[in-house]
Symmetry: C2
Subunit: 400 residues, 2 copies
């Protein structure tokens, strides 16, 4: 996994000792002047102090932030008013060090909830953080934002429009509370194209909808989620604000593809995950009901433990579909597939079902569970992992 | 645990060898003529063949069934049209043996989904089943309907109205897919009072609402759930159809109390359960929002693994409250308690929080997690268990 540098972005990662020694835990993404940005944040009512401050600063700076200051080891969530003061203070110190306005600094935190964020450790590390900046440290940044992740997630896309070559690079973290509303999920993306904030916002929201909002590990949603997309404009000839322009369209494809790769990388590295499962629901009346079915299955502990066991337990899948709340579901029209093999139809096991064949298929690490609802043309996929002993171990041991 | 006989009801349980040898797996509850009944069934769209047949027969016999024929080891669910034929055939054979109309026989099944129910084994066991009937075999019946349950659940209440003594006895099973809509949950209750079907239905629904619908192990819902309440009228002086009568009111209290005891017994014996946790949500604007908060917490794998670990991880509780979908939730007004000790308020850890004290409290097997929303007077409790290694083991090994 490599990530290409993005003209107009410099990156740094250092050890600030926020919670653990000997690991990188403080990251900076520094943008050239003129960079535009869009961001989406957690919908959890208990959002963390840095989320509140980042959202506020992003608006105040006219969607043109200059610094993302990201720490792991401590979420600065459930910390009340003192947590707000700490988040603001870190932004102020960083702004002074780089000669920025405080509202050009956006803070992001991930890690344990309910502990005081040690602001002094962050502030003491700022000189080294900013001194070490370089365009080439994206992988170090991807490592510096990890919590229970076992590997960094990063990637790039290149695209050419009108003879100009552009790059899009992104990193992401999060292995636990993932799902729609993107729990404990952080992702930072940057391009050197010049894109107007409003268009950037539209493109980011659309890409998130079909990537980070379609993955789930355990259905929980964190207090700190955020995805931010910056466009430095360094390689842009003129600001693009037309969604129908070639640049917007080519960029949208690159963005959706990179977001999906990063999102799937999060599921593959999900806590205790031993399987990577696409749940593809087709034949729905609309996308909303396909998503209801897909997430009901993806969140069913009984389905997830069966996946862990490699057990082709279509009865549990059928029970999950049956409680997904679809009005007037004709259960005899529903068909269930593992990869391309039909396993259930007409409310029962498929005629040609051979348990040994299906069990063999399920030994694979990558599976597609297909549900054909037989009531329309809508189609969606979501991606999830199984429920293993390790999921329990990690979450019983780790104080997140 | 003991259960009192109910005048007008005889009970039997035998080994029919449906899935396993050397265990009781076929149960009959036989009611005297004139018995009225009410029942609630799963809301899962994929309901099992016996659910469809029982619902149909109950209406056809004018809410006056004579025989409940219950098997464990096989749910006869996900079995399509052949499963319907098998369910009907068992009812027919049982009706002939007892000289009943076929629609006076209600079938119930629990166990593995998607396997053909071996009708012959059931039919061959009917003579012995009916020959062994006795008023005193409620405990054997409670054992005969178990699946992954580790112990039978049964209980009785006695009450006196107008100088007449009455009894109410019930059994229940289900340790896995429990929750609202009552997955893999079966409960059968009978009284010797004389109660009109319509009133019986009202009383049963009300009692279920505050008992079986307020428990959850893993949020899954089965294809086979049912709760049935029969009133033989043997000890009744006249048919009671007045909800304001003393009998109706006294009986309602007994019924709610017994249903709650049985429901809590199911959670205590939940798959892999090491804790029994009451989640009490108070200060809500209405009951519906209290239930949303309570079930969001009760279904959160992160909260459940923290309970298993005995970790006072109020951050995960707070995150669950925050995603429960309450409009305009003032997060600073929310308070979280373990038993009577406050652990979080003002969006942060409580001032006097001492982790060692809370961790000590959480070593108990019975806990109450209290949430005070601070926005109204509504109050509800739901009961749940934790998520343990054993939950994964049981559900990865057991083909339900």
């Amino acid at each position: 996994m490599t990530a290409l540098p993005v003209p107009g972005v410099s990156v740094s990662a250092v050890e600030a000792g926020i919670r653990y020694a000997d690991r990188s835990d403080l990251v900076a993404l520094i943008f050239d002047e003129g960079t535009t940005a869009a961001a989406v944040f957690t919908r959890n009512a208990f959002c963390a102090a840095p989320v509140i401050v980042a959202r506020e600063h992003l608006l105040e700076c006219g969607l043109m932030p200059r610094l993302l200051l990201i720490n792991t080891g401590n979420a600065n969530a459930g910390t009340g008013d003192p947590g707000m003061l700490v988040a603001r203070r870190c932004c102020e110190e960083a702004a002074v060090a780089l000669g920025l306005n405080v509202n050009e600094v956006l803070p992001f935190s991930t890690g344990v909830i309910g502990e005081d964020l040690p602001a002094d450790r962050i502030i003491n590390a700022l000189p080294k953080l900013f001194a070490g900046r370089s365009p080439d440290l994206w992988e170090q940044a991807a490592r510096g934002i990890m919590t229970t992740d076992t590997r960094p997630k990063l990637g790039s896309r290149q695209f050419v429009v009108d003879g100009t070559a552009y790059v899009l690079t992104g990193i992401a973290k999060g292995a636990g509370m993932l799902r729609p509303d993107m729990a404990t999920m952080l992702s930072f993306l940057a391009t050197d194209a010049a894109i107007a904030p409003e268009l950037l916002d539209t493109l980011l929201r659309r890409a998130v909808e079909t990537s980070f909002h379609r993955i789930t590990v355990d259905g929980d949603t964190s207090t700190n989620d955020a995805a931010l997309l910056a466009a430095t404009g360094v390689s842009g000839k003129q600001l693009c604000d037309d969604p129908d322009s070639e640049l917007a369209q080519v960029f949208a494809v690159a963005l959706e593809s990179l977001c999906l790769e990063l999102a799937q990388g999060l599921v593959r590295d999900g806590e205790g995950a031993s399987k990577f499962v696409e749940i593809q629901v087709s034949g729905g009346g609309d996308e909303a009901e396909c998503l209801d079915v897909a997430f009901t299955i993806a969140h069913s502990p009984l389905v997830k433990t069966a996946l862990f066991a490699g057990d082709p337990n279509w009865g549990r899948v059928l029970a999950a579909i049956g409680r997904a709340g679809l009005a007037d579901l004709d259960v005899t029209g529903v068909r269930i597939f593992i990869n391309d093999l039909i396993i259930a139809e007409n409310g029962a096991r498929a005629i040609n079902y051979v348990e040994a064949d299906v069990a063999e298929l399920m030994r694979g690490e990558d599976l597609r569970l297909g549900i054909e609802l037989g009531r329309g043309d809508a189609l969606v996929s979501v991606w999830t992992s199984d429920f293993s002993y390790d999921y329990v171990r990690i979450n019983a041991e780790y104080r997140s």
